[in-house]
């Protein structure tokens, strides 16, 4: 593209530079010692020049975390994590990355190739450190026009979209009002840890009556790369507002941090709607099950206002261990929660994921569509809770959990919890488990598809209901990703 060089020049001149410096400086220079204590928490807060109340909040979380123990109820097995042997501030990768793509695991490079990731983008994803100015690289990926017009348009609409650190400086009242209001500090072990040491993340506020003029996705794709292991996201849709947000990336990301414990809080006020989509493809470990990311995430949305709606869509193909239950608290009357999930596991991956739909208000409804695909030696568990509290008159839920097995060494498990404390609640649960049959594969192969193409086609058909929920621009990429994740799973 001839426009690229020009674009790069443009970017250099405008505000993407701020993004570059704003993002890079602190992680390049400092690193706190290993282990976790109050001093480290204070250090983190100080480095980020946070207000006093934020430090107190973090310390409170830290003390609660100290008193908690790791949950063991999930169907995942891993060696005990030594929390004193981890860095809690500054990314070690800023100095230790590979110098060029030649030093990166060829398997990962092969995957980039198949996904059609542009060369420049591959370097960033793989964490290659180069002397070339980073801003130019970013520009090549998504082009300057996207970033700048994004910022302009959002500003015009009154949407606040920034890092949570920036939000703490620029909009402390909003953060103070909502942070921890959906996932309290002591909610669970990993949420408490995150509350104490979270490094950064995103903050979105969509003011009353505003429909966010664009998917908050492309922009995020640029930002995402530098987010650390303890990410904190807070999204608020004020009355009548709408926002659609996509995190993650289809290309696998190299990361030095083995443990990830993110917290995402969504708040939807009266008549507001939040659509949150995730494509997670972190390093799943090698083919023998060594290495890989442990992903312990707490994601929860609060339909606080009447007629509000929160919708989670997730495509989980990466990580050695996934422990993740994006949930909805249906507090407002007539509010609605949705959870659409595709969880693909291969090799020795372990997935324990699902959702919680907590019906509190009247005439609330929820819908759960979960598609689990297990291959190789992996274990894939759906764990979900649907509950109606005493005052949740007219609560409705429809749940559909389908599991697909590929091969005979993997496992699929469905653990639904259903609690109805109100007689008028109407809950439906459907579940199926099936295997990709040899007949089906043979039929496809007779029509000219290779075995891998056949598996990809059948699996993409299996997950179609959920794929349709993804933003259009990610659909094709995600379909490809699912196929690639299952390569080598048959025969």
């Amino acid at each position: 593209m001839p426009a690229v060089q020009e674009t790069i020049e443009q970017v250099r001149k405008i505000d993407v530079d701020q993004y570059k410096y704003g993002f890079e400086t602190n992680i390049e220079t400092v690193k706190a010692p290993k282990g976790l204590n109050e001093d480290i928490v204070r250090y983190i807060s100080e480095r980020k020049s946070e207000p006093e109340w934020m430090l107190a909040w973090r310390l409170d979380a830290y003390r609660r975390w100290r008193a908690m123990t790791e949950p063991t109820w999930a169907k995942v097995h891993y060696p005990k994590i030594d929390f004193e042997d981890l860095y809690y501030y500054a990314a070690p990768k800023s100095s230790e990355g590979p110098k060029s793509l030649d030093e990166v695991d060829p398997a990962i490079l092969e995957m980039y190739e198949k996904l059609g990731v542009p060369l420049k983008e591959r370097e960033i994803l793989a964490g290659v450190k180069s002397d070339k100015p980073k801003v130019a690289v970013d520009a090549v990926i998504d082009s300057v026009s996207v970033v700048t017009t994004f910022k302009d348009e959002l500003r015009k609409a009154g949407v606040i979209f920034c890092s949570i650190s920036e939000a703490l400086r620029e909009h402390p009242d909003l953060v103070k009002k909502y942070l921890g209001s959906v996932v309290p500090q002591s909610d669970n072990f990993y949420a408490a840890l995150n509350s104490a040491v979270f490094s950064d993340g995103s903050f979105v506020y969509v003011p009353e009556g505003v429909r966010c003029p664009m998917e908050l996705s492309t922009y995020f794709r640029i930002n995402e790369r530098e987010t650390g292991q303890f990410e904190r996201t807070l999204i608020i849709a004020d009355k009548g507002a709408y926002v659609s947000y996509l995190e993650g990336c289809t290309a696998p990301m190299r990361d030095e941090n083995q443990l990830h414990a993110a917290v995402v809080e969504l708040i939807a006020l009266d008549d507001a709607e939040i659509k949150y989509s995730t494509v997670q493809n972190w390093y799943p470990g090698d083919k023998n099950g060594k290495g890989g990311i442990y992903n312990f995430v707490t994601k929860r949305g609060d339909c606080r206002g009447r007629d509000s709606k929160i919708s989670w869509t997730q495509v989980e193909t990466g990580s050695a261990i996934t422990w993740k239950y994006p949930s909805c608290i249906l507090r407002g009357d007539n509010s609605r929660g949705e959870f659409y999930s595709i969880a693909v596991s291969n090799g020795y991956q372990q997935v324990d994921s699902g959702t919680k739909m907590i019906h509190l208000g009247r005439n609330t409804s929820s819908r759960i569509i979960s598609k689990g695909i297990a291959a190789g030696h992996s274990q894939n568990t759906y764990r979900g809770l649907v509950s109606a509290h005493r005052k949740a008159t007219g609560a409705r839920n429809f749940t559909n959990c389908d599991s697909l097995l590929i091969g005979d060494k993997c496992g699929a498990h469905t653990v639904p919890y259903i609690e109805a404390k109100n007689q008028t609640a109407h809950f439906e649960h459907e579940a199926t488990t099936s295997k990709i049959s040899d007949d089906m594969l043979f039929y496809c192969m007779q029509r000219g598809l290779s075995q891998e193409e056949a598996v990809a086609l059948v699996v993409n058909g299996f997950v179609r209901d959920v794929l349709q929920q993804l933003p259009m621009e990610f659909l094709a990429e995600t379909q490809k990703l699912i196929g690639i994740s299952l390569e080598g799973s048959v025969g």
Partner: protein, 251 residues
């Protein structure tokens, strides 16, 4: 030209031998019919030609255009022009007919070293071929074979055949489950594909299909071997006498 030489086939998981020295030659440009009683090995022959893993070839060979295809995967055979119209086509939930046709057509084209079809070209082609087979275009937006009637499934098979342009067509009991009207449509579809570069093997129980698809030769398969070969009038004879003559005869 299809040449099957002394083919012996058993089930992969059992000792049961199904084909016991089958010899058959189908030159390009000809349509041959295989008739025979239940359990004579007709469907086995179809599956073995397409490369299904449940069967093991213990002796003999299958040559297509002079080249043995026994070691080839099913998709490689498809690329070489082998097409099997299934007696019981599989359902593929969630995969629209159009997606399936396009994926298959392009997979075969790629393997043959041809350029993939562009979306407009593909749509034009499908629309024309579907219309010829009296297939409602809306049907192609539904998942492959899911909830299809017997007639719809068979027409969909023939549409796939037309799209993939194979050079060896094997039709396994394509007439089963078809009413007279559907039989006519399917047969017309098959006849339209007859040509000097294409060999066809039509497997059937009944003569009635052969009124519509008139074969150059008819073979009687029983006890794992071809027992008799004749012209199209052999089918009529079988229709009258049945397969009783072959029932007692050991291979």
């Amino acid at each position: 030209m299809l040449e099957i030489k002394n083919l012996h086939v058993k089930l992969a998981d059992e000792d049961k031998v199904i084909l016991k020295g089958l010899d058959l030659v189908v030159p390009k440009g000809e349509v041959h019919a295989i008739m025979g009683p239940n359990g004579s090995g007709k469907s086995t022959l179809a599956y073995v030609l397409a490369g299904r893993e449940d069967y093991e070839v213990i002796d003999g060979d299958i040559l297509w255009n002079g080249e043995s295809i026994l070691e080839m995967e099913p998709d490689e055979r498809a690329a070489k022009g082998v097409f099997l119209a299934f007696q019981y086509p599989m359902e593929i939930p969630g995969v629209a007919g159009l997606t399936f046709l396009r994926t298959a057509a392009n997979a075969v084209r790629k393997k043959r070293g041809e350029a993939e079809l562009s979306t407009p070209d593909f749509m034009k082609l499908v629309k024309a071929k579907a219309a010829a087979l009296n297939i409602d275009f809306e049907m192609l937006k539904r998942p492959v074979n899911v909830g299809f009637s017997g007639g719809e499934k068979k027409r969909s098979e023939i549409l796939q055949m037309a799209m993939l342009e194979p050079s060896l067509c094997v039709l396994d009991e394509t007439d089963s489950g078809l009413d007279i009207d559907a039989l006519k449509v399917v047969s017309d579809g098959v006849n339209a594909l007859r040509g000097p570069d294409r060999a066809m093997l039509v497997i059937t129980h009944y003569q009635r299909l052969l009124n519509h698809i008139v074969p150059d030769k008819v073979h009687v398969l029983a006890h794992g071997r071809i027992q008799r070969t004749g012209g199209k009038e052999l089918a009529l004879e079988l229709e009258k006498s049945g397969y009783a003559e072959y029932a007692g005869k050991a291979a």
